[in-house]
Subunit: 514 residues, 2 copies
């Protein structure tokens, strides 16, 4: 078998059976090999940002890697922004990048580039295959590297001659890995601080934001006085009725500094020290005050849930469910479309088992509070700040969880970085409801403008901050990619369209004109 | 003044008065400074590939750099594919990339990345500003580096604190640079070979593909027997009635090898040695046979037109116009839409002074022959092989040449890598006629599949080669971005719609369903 087939069979051996792809000539052997490897599901993205974002969303929901397949340096480059988000989400991805044949690389042919240079910033693991017969071993190593907790991008560069020459035996299965145990010293610090009555904050991310971790963290909070917060941006958090909910760590540095003033200890659980998202004049980047001791309770990839369990036992925390949310579904919004009326309406229709992919600054505000008592759902946020992710991540999540409805909450401006995701949703028949927050503005930039005290927005500046003139019409964009779509201008219509979209199979887009 | 204003004023001093941009928080000082620098034209792209592609098209037609403005690593990453094309086109671009404040960089904030690592592969010049008061000098150096013949991408990284702190005096004007003179030894080789009756091929790119160079090359061909060809892919070539036309160097290696067998000398004029676009099994990458001597007559950036003039004199070539094309405008096509009927119809309507941005494998075939006798026009090709360039390049060309009509010939599949360019055309009111070749397929990949002898296309492989199911509807996509659009299914309707689009101001899209 040729090298490309060796790679695909190695992936299949480990259960990596979805390949998000935008192939070109140098990956044509993969395209041909897909026909010979039953069970491998190829998913085409018309733009590489969709490929990367879908693999990220897939990994967050499937808890295993998908493969990506990119065409040379420029193809990979188009995927980098969403690979950046995936890296920050710690999503496992087996990132296959075709390159020119080894003997063709030295020539300055039009598409030649330093593919490894593009891949390095987002890759936790990077290997450049030079010998097709090593592909079984190399691919196996890539799977293991990607999947190793907490998850990372493992990039394997595959020169075209390696993919068309004999590839040797496929690599053996990689077993689903287990997180590493937490050192007992880390627990001792918490126990000591709690017993001394010191003020402790837990800052949580990663696997601890699933059911087990949430209950344990909530029990600790209820019975020891530890305050528990989730990171500002999280790859995935379980939420809704029956689960304890966590506050979010604040986004802006002045809020965070003020919060942390009140603590003697900050314990990081599957996360890193909090820093400002952006620098601002006269604002600190580092947020933890001198008097607040910073500890790693569980590093990303460590068994934080086990550690929380051990802590509960050591601190004699009663065995209960913590403080789960009751089922509280708000009435749908009424009248004009505002962030609040949209939030109420989305909460009113949220189905059991929904997966929410959220990327709309406008959607914040009351949305978290409105949805906290909805039926159980999973929530995916933008982790790396590179806009244009939620549609693609939603598509990937729908492929990972075909029985669960996906809701993408997408700002119009951010959505325009990779609207091509709509096409993939249609082709794959995914149950995704896309809600576009159409405010015809880079709202986030107007916010940042205010924060920087830049005064009045002039005519030239406005040309870079507003995205009206012409207004985007997302319902037309959707229809251009084969997706049924509607526009709504009041909350009642939104409610009706959301209900319809969620009850019909396949993807739908609703543009909420604010 | 703050650093961002210093940069913009330095750009203005050298006549760099267009800034294609997709800014974020770290570039907010630039957005504010635009209001204070009269004459600077900010052009927003909703996706960074548009920003990069437009700057490329602008540079090809304006013969001077525009500035680009990107937001951090992921923003730059989204622009890399079209920056790659621009690099291969040798387009001068002053590439400004905002980064986190210098003191914020060491922290792993969500958007932190190694911006320089992303920039390096496409940048001929790269500087990381660390002191706002150096920005006048740094920006001036970037302009000079970008503009220096043959043109390149000069990247200046601007940390946010450098853009908000005092920026010092703007840099003085950079004068439009002149190409370097060709060494006389290079001419001697041609003269000797011609006098010895040896078989010579000129392979031409760059500035020699304008009026003066074409006449000189044609005179040499007519009177000395030198065969003259243009590179397969050229940033810009002048064409049409009154100008000599050049054959194109063949795209595929077997054709090139066969051609070059017939020559004793290959003289490169503003180009590099021909190599295969892709490697294929049993095909060479290096195309020039042993017996054919390879010479640099004029390297990119050297005064090739002067060298051709000197050659004409040295070889006593009569002073005439070479072999200019007569005005021959074909009748429009009829009946079904085929590559040929579309080519005839496009040729029939080609207006004087048109700028053609071509990126449609389907459009080749008879199109070059059909248009060679059309009224004078400029032709821009995809130089770097990274798809999704012609719409953006067309937008940039229209900004560079507001009095000339632009025609984008865009394949549907390739166009989906950056359809957001349509929005910029509408916002800026550009006179662009977009013709979409809607074959609902990655035609190029089907061609490559055949070349690789991969046999029948199976169901899984087809999912990666065909882009139907769902069919794209470009007329809806265009309307979604505010552009009037139509669909045509026969040549007569295409003719009518093209005439209409070219006669009305502003952009139009016509989808030719093949």
């Amino acid at each position: 078998m040729v090298g490309a087939e060796t790679i695909l069979r190695t992936l299949m051996n480990s259960g990596v059976d979805v390949c998000f792809a935008n192939p070109g000539t140098s990956e044509m052997q993969f395209v041909a090999a897909v026909d010979r490897v039953p069970g491998m599901r190829p998913v085409l993205g018309l733009f590489e940002g969709v490929v990367a974002g879908a693999a990220d969303g897939y990994a967050r929901m499937a808890d295993k890697p998908a493969a990506t397949l990119f065409h040379l340096g420029p193809g990979l480059a188009n995927g980098l922004a969403n690979l950046h988000n995936a890296m920050r989400a710690r999503s496992p991805i087996v990132n296959l990048v075709g390159d020119h044949a080894t003997y063709h690389r030295p020539y300055a042919s039009p598409l030649a580039s330093d593919v490894a240079a593009y891949a390095r910033p987002v890759s936790g693991w990077l290997r450049d295959n030079a010998e097709g017969r090593m592909l079984g071993a190399d691919t196996r190593a890539a799977i293991a590297a990607a999947w190793e907790p907490p998850g990372q991008i493992a990039t394997l560069l595959v020169p075209a001659d390696c993919s068309w020459n004999p590839g040797g035996e496929p690599g053996a299965a990689v077993r689903p890995p287990q997180p590493r145990a937490v050192a007992s010293e880390a627990l001792e610090q918490v126990i000591k601080a709690v017993r001394a009555g010191e003020r402790c904050l837990f800052l949580i991310n990663g696997r601890s934001l699933r059911e087990d971790g949430l209950h344990l963290a909530s029990r600790l909070a209820e019975h020891t006085g530890i305050r528990v917060m989730a990171d500002t941006f999280t790859a995935r958090m379980e939420r809704g009725a029956g689960l304890p909910s966590l506050e979010r760590f604040p986004r802006y540095p002045e809020q965070a500094v003020s919060l942390l003033q009140g603590f003697d200890h900050l314990f990081m659980i599957e996360t890193v020290p909090p820093v400002a998202f952006f620098a601002y004049p006269d604002q600190p980047s580092w947020l933890t005050p001198e008097h607040c001791a910073l500890h790693t309770l569980a590093a990303p990839g460590e068994d934080a849930v086990g550690a929380l369990q051990d802590l509960c036992e050591a601190l004699d925390v009663p065995v209960d469910a913590g403080k789960p949310e009751a089922l509280v579904v708000p009435e749908p919004g009424t009248g004009a479309l505002t962030p609040d009326s949209i939030a109420r309406t989305v909460a009113a229709v949220m189905p059991e088992g929904a997966i929410v992919a959220e990327e709309a600054i406008t959607s914040r505000g009351s949305l978290p509070a409105m949805t906290v008592g909805c039926p159980r759902h999973s929530w995916m946020s933008l982790t790396g700040g590179a806009l244009g992710q939620s549609l693609s991540a939603g598509a990937g999540a729908a492929i990972a969880c075909p029985d669960r409805p996906v809701i993408c909450l997408q700002a119009d401006g951010a959505g325009m970085y990779s609207p091509q995701a709509l096409w993939t949703m249609v082709r794959e028949g995914l149950n995704v409801t896309v809600l576009i927050y159409a405010n015809r503005s880079y709202k986030i930039l107007h916010n940042e403008w205010s924060r920087l005290n830049l005064g009045e927005v002039g005519d030239s500046a406005r040309k870079l901050l507003d995205i009206g003139n012409p207004d985007l019409d997302w319902s037309h964009l959707a229809r251009g990619m084969g997706m049924p779509a509607s526009q709504v201008t009041d909350a009642e219509s939104l409610h009706q369209e959301l209900r319809r979209a969620l009850s019909e199979p396949g993807p739908h887009l609703i543009e909420a004109i604010m």
